[in-house]
């Protein structure tokens, strides 16, 4: 199959009545969607893009909630040869100004020809398009130029889309694309930061699906159950593209609904005999702690053969908590798998647990943190860490660990994980500078720190200062800029970092702000103002806003705030 559009055509022509996916929505009947319904609906969008003058190879940004519209807008773009790029939908938490700034930043780098959204959101989008300066600071900070004119030629509103109709595969431009052409853009950095658009070709996606389905031993009898957002690689590839393209049943629900009732995931697995799911680490803790017994009554989880932990640092304790809570419902310990993945490799880099139980590598904590070596614990008194293996690289993907100079390091030495494969990104869209920087000698530098042992990959720590909250990447700098909106908070005197929360199985965000006032009421007021500014602008709720007197903030020799050093100082002071 040369391209994804050809695969879709094949499904339509071979088994149009087969359910491509089942959409679950709270308060409504479960909705099976046949390949016919899916592609007729997608064709409506394909025709709409064409009528709006959007040409093959151009980008359409999709700002829609998890819905049938989003599914159709995405596949419709593929049929039209247009490149879809799904953006998170504005939530009630984010200040419209902040979202406008994010959108303006995205538009100026990605330069989409179209934006697809709901009628209610059209004004918001138009406002962002008319005001590219909303993101000026961020764009300039990245060394880029602000476009003089908006590249967006059409804002397509979901209630003005054409009616569903049978696709004319012979005429659709999507089937004339080359496998090396970009099929979609993924934004890998979550909801803040000047997003880098990961451009993926048809061939890369298809190579990944072949390699990954092989690693999972995926068959047509499998059932994938997912609540994951589609603007993120895990949800988009494992929980959306893979099942639909490979003809594996997909049962899908909105993350918005899952987070309010996490039992929905388990109920769906039981009802549909789900076999595979993917979850970020925090979800294991979340499910174990927040689901009521009465919502588990009568559930049978024995069909669940693979639950892959992915997208944020994996914790052994989280697996244990999850297993202990749900084992009496038939959940098997062997079903708890691991995965190391990133948009730059389409998705999976490694997979653990399918062919043999996930290796738990118990190592000496001191050696890891101080010597940067993963030394197996020898039973002596020192504290240890149980590292979960992320497993072995999938076929046609290779991993190695390198030092600062790009030289490969020995086994069990901690360094940066580098990879190469046949499913890599074509590049960061319109960011040749960022693309060039990411590669060294043909290997992609992940920015993740870890080690290899016996051919298995262990991820030790996430990219430098990045904070991962609930599976989302959060840039400290963005939060610091937001904090500076509070009166009395100044540049260079505020530092944001992540502190792991054992109970939640994910990171919390702490901000330290150095202020001049000694007055405790004023300091309290500043702390509240910072919390509000951060929350409005990023939807992050701080675990702690620590107000200190100068001099406190630790800086590097080049004058930048040294976040890790600040974190260590903070933890020491609060006695953590």
């Amino acid at each position: 199959m040369p391209t994804i559009a050809h695969i879709l055509r094949d499904h339509y022509q071979s088994h149009s009545e087969q359910a491509a996916l089942v959409m679950l929505h709270a308060g409504s009947e479960d909705r099976p969607v046949s390949y016919r319904a899916l592609l007729d609906g997608a064709n409506a969008y394909a025709c709409t893009y064409a009528a709006a003058g959007i040409r093959p190879g151009e980008v359409a940004v999709l700002i829609l909630q998890h819905s049938f519209e989003l599914v159709c807008a995405f596949y419709g773009a593929v049929l039209a040869g247009v490149i879809p790029s799904i953006m998170p939908f504005l939530t009630e938490k984010l200040l419209p100004e902040r979202y406008r700034s994010d959108l303006a930043a995205l538009v100026s780098v990605t330069r989409p020809a179209a934006v697809v959204t709901y009628p209610e959101f059209e004004n918001e989008v138009q406002a962002a398009l008319k005001d590219p300066s909303a993101a000026a600071a961020r764009i300039e900070a990245a060394g880029l130029e602000i476009p003089k004119e908006s590249p967006v030629r059409a804002v397509i509103v979901s209630d003005k889309v054409q009616a569903p109709s049978a696709p004319d595969f012979a005429a659709l431009p999507g089937l004339k694309r080359d496998p090396s052409d970009i099929v979609l853009l993924q934004h890998s950095s979550g909801t803040t930061g000047l997003q880098k658009g990961v451009a993926l070709s048809h061939q890369a996606v298809l190579n990944q699906l072949a390699a990954y389905s092989g690693a999972l031993h995926l068959t047509p009898d499998d059932v994938i159950v997912s609540w994951l957002p589609l603007y993120h690689d895990m949800g988009l590839i494992a929980g959306f593209l893979m099942p639909i393209l490979l003809g594996v049943r997909l049962v899908i629900m909105s993350p918005f609904e899952w987070v309010r009732a996490p039992a929905r995931l388990l109920q769906a697995v039981s009802r549909y005999h789900g076999t595979l799911s993917w979850l970020p680490n925090f979800a294991y803790n979340f499910c174990a702690a927040k689901i009521r017994e009465r919502d588990l009554e009568g559930l049978d989880l024995s069909s669940w053969r693979s639950i892959s932990n992915c997208s944020e640092p994996m914790r052994y304790e989280s697996h244990v908590a999850f297993f202990q809570r749900f084992s009496r419902l038939g959940l098997r310990y062997e079903a708890l798998h691991t995965c190391y993945a990133m948009a730059e490799n389409v998705f999976a880099v490694t997979q653990g647990g399918v062919d043999a139980p996930v290796t738990v590598d118990e190592i000496d904590r001191e050696a890891m943190q101080v010597e940067r070596v993963a030394r197996p614990a020898d039973g002596s008194a020192g504290p240890t860490i149980k590292m979960l293996s992320a497993g072995r690289p999938v076929s046609n993907t290779q991993c190695k660990v390198v030092d600062d100079k790009g030289e490969e390091v020995p086994e069990r030495t901690i360094g940066e994980i580098a990879l190469r494969s046949d499913c890599m990104l074509t590049g960061y869209y319109h960011r040749p500078d960022a693309t060039a920087k990411a590669f060294s000698d043909g290997w992609y530098l992940t920015g993740d720190y870890g080690y290899m042992a016996d051919g298995e990959v262990y991820v030790a720590g996430r990219k430098k200062d990045m904070i991962i909250v609930g599976g989302k990447n959060v840039y400290p700098l963005d939060l610091e800029l937001l904090a500076m909106e509070a009166p009395g908070v100044h540049a260079g005197r505020v530092s944001a970092f992540g502190v792991f929360n054992d109970e939640a199985g994910t990171e919390d965000v702490v901000i330290v702000a150095e202020v001049d006032t000694e007055d405790s009421e004023e300091r309290e007021g500043i702390a509240r103002a910072i919390e509000a500014a951060v929350n409005r602008g990023s939807a992050i709720r701080l675990r702690d806003c620590y107000i200190v007197s100068p001099p406190w903030i630790v800086k590097t020799s080049s004058g930048k705030t040294a976040r890790l050093a600040n974190k260590e100082k903070y933890l020491k002071e609060i006695g953590g």
Binding site: E92, R260, N535, A539
Partner: protein, 81 residues
């Protein structure tokens, strides 16, 4: 007259959900639309109300349209007790 349910909720939410025992939440302060209670904590509100008052809040009701302040939440609780 101080509303006992409101006072109690303010304390419980501040302590158990916000993890800020000294935080004073005003009865008419926006809780959900402001992001003070984020989406990951909505399920906690439901659990807390049920455990404390024996009142069920459906997950479809865990949104700002149903209740956004302590006053509104207390009203719902009272009507179901």
């Amino acid at each position: 007259m101080p509303d006992e349910i409101v006072t109690n909720l303010a304390q419980l939410i501040a302590t158990k959900i916000l993890k800020q025992p000294r935080r004073v939440i005003k009865p008419d302060e926006a809780l959900i639309s402001s992001g003070l209670i984020d989406s990951f904590n909505l399920v906690d509100v439901g659990l807390l109300v049920e455990d404390t008052y024996g009142v069920r809040i459906d997950d479809a009701e865990l949104n700002a349209d149903t209740f956004d302040t302590l006053d509104q939440l207390a009203e719902i609780i009272r009507s179901r007790m």
